[in-house]
């Protein structure tokens, strides 16, 4: 996640303090990973240096928390560019699970055991997300669904591989 772009996007709603920005970010996007203050201020000073935000007044009793930041025209253009550029589809080709399966086969261990253990762990996490979804609002649901669909894709791969484990063993041992 590009934190800089997310903060810029939040600033489009109007100038805010660094502390305010952190709170707004955490509330919307920080479910599992809230921002550190350090991250917020280092990001803001970078945006400031690049002319994407400006200081919009300092309140009495200085210290960095007192500064308000506002987005500039260049900042708005930057957010626009970010939103209209697709994220690179991540093909996840460096797959640890695949390596574990192959190494289990090469060493004469049970690859099925590796796959079953992983499957159980995946389903346990999927159950937690499903429960969280049931108790949450629409934002929670959408965030959990994103994770659930990805975990489901992993699980489908685990199943497919389990069904082909004998075939894979024959190829690996050749």
């Amino acid at each position: 996640m590009s934190i800089g772009h997310a903060l810029l996007g939040l600033l489009e709603g109007g100038p805010r303090h660094g502390y305010d920005l952190k709170r707004a970010y955490d509330e919307r996007f920080g479910q599992d990973r809230p921002l550190h203050y350090g991250q917020v201020y280092s990001t803001l000073s970078r945006l400031l240096k690049n002319g994407l935000v400006t200081e919009a007044g300092v309140e009495a009793g200085d210290g960095p928390e007192r500064k308000r930041y506002a987005i500039t025209d260049a900042g708005v253009t930057d957010v626009e560019r970010w939103l209209s550029t697709p994220e690179k589809p991540e093909p996840y080709l460096q797959n640890t699970l695949y390596a574990k399966v192959v190494l289990a086969l090469l060493s004469g261990r049970s690859a099925t055991e590796v796959l079953d253990t992983q499957r159980a762990a995946h389903l346990t996490t999927m159950r937690e997300l499903t429960r969280r979804k049931a108790d949450g609002d629409l934002a929670d649901q959408l965030i959990c669904d994103f994770a659930l669909f990805h975990l489901e894709a992993d699980l489908r791969w685990l199943e497919l591989t389990a069904a082909r484990v004998d075939q894979l063993a024959a190829e690996v041992m050749r």
């Binding site: 079953d116 159980a120 389903l123 999927m126 159950r127 997300l129 049931a134």
Partner: protein
């Protein structure tokens, strides 16, 4: 303590060994997902467990609401169908509602078959339709409802008799993700509220995620992780 327990189940169809020494244990009120590849024997296991299909070998024991142990595999057809009617509920992928009856009449049907008066049966049926958020289709026939609405009506019908076990074979198989999840949420919530156990056959991980635990079937053998020892 187990509510339903199957041991050493084998079942062949001609040369096909659908089940080979399969076992599974279901406790009162738990939701168990039965997963595994197509053709691995999931539906056959469910049918044997529910007393729809007699296995070639093996036993199925059920503890009824009086707390007495009853062996399904030792009952005759009449006893088994009586047990299914009074203690079990069923939800399949589709085709389980009577097309000539309205949705309300469909849900009331199991109660009517048990001798309940029409008025009382339909009142209970209406309550269940409302709990599953489909009271709006009460007077429509199943053919006039959407897939998701039809499944909710089928779940209402499965729950209306207060069963101890719901057997569900791919209950969301014909639905899109959003409707499927809604149906799973309503089914598991209702089952938890009434204390019914659910045996849920599915190959969809997101559907299985509504369960408390899973049992994997491969080549007719079940792997009941929790009860393997």
């Amino acid at each position: 303590m187990s509510l339903l327990r199957a041991e050493g189940l084998s079942k062949s169809f001609g040369k096909t060994h659908a089940l080979e020494d399969a076992g599974i244990t279901i406790r009162a009120g738990e939701v168990v997902a039965v997963m595994g590849p197509s053709g691995s024997g999931k539906s056959t296991l469910l049918h044997c467990l529910a007393g729809i299909l007699p296995p070639d070998r093996g036993t199925v024991h059920y503890r009824d609401h009086f707390g007495s142990d009853r062996e399904l595999t030792a009952m005759n057809d009449g006893e088994r169908s009586e047990l299914r009617r009074t203690e079990f509920g069923f939800v399949f992928q589709f085709g389980q509602l009577v097309p000539e009856l309205t949705c309300l009449e469909n849900v009331a049907l199991p109660l009517r078959l048990s001798g309940m008066k029409r008025k009382n049966a339909e009142r209970a049926a209406r309550d269940w339709l409302a709990r599953l958020e489909v009271d709006g289709v009460a007077d429509q026939r199943p053919g006039e409802t959407s897939g998701g609405q039809g499944q909710r009506v089928a779940i209402a019908r499965a729950l209306v008799t207060g069963p101890k076990v719901i057997f569900a074979d791919e209950p969301t198989g014909a639905l899109d993700s959003l409707n499927g999840e809604r149906v799973m949420h309503l089914l598991t919530t209702a089952a938890r509220e009434t204390g019914a156990a659910v045996v849920l056959v599915t190959h969809e991980p997101r559907v299985a995620a509504y369960s408390d635990r899973e049992v994997v079937v491969r080549d007719g053998r079940s792997r009941d992780v929790e009860f393997a020892r």
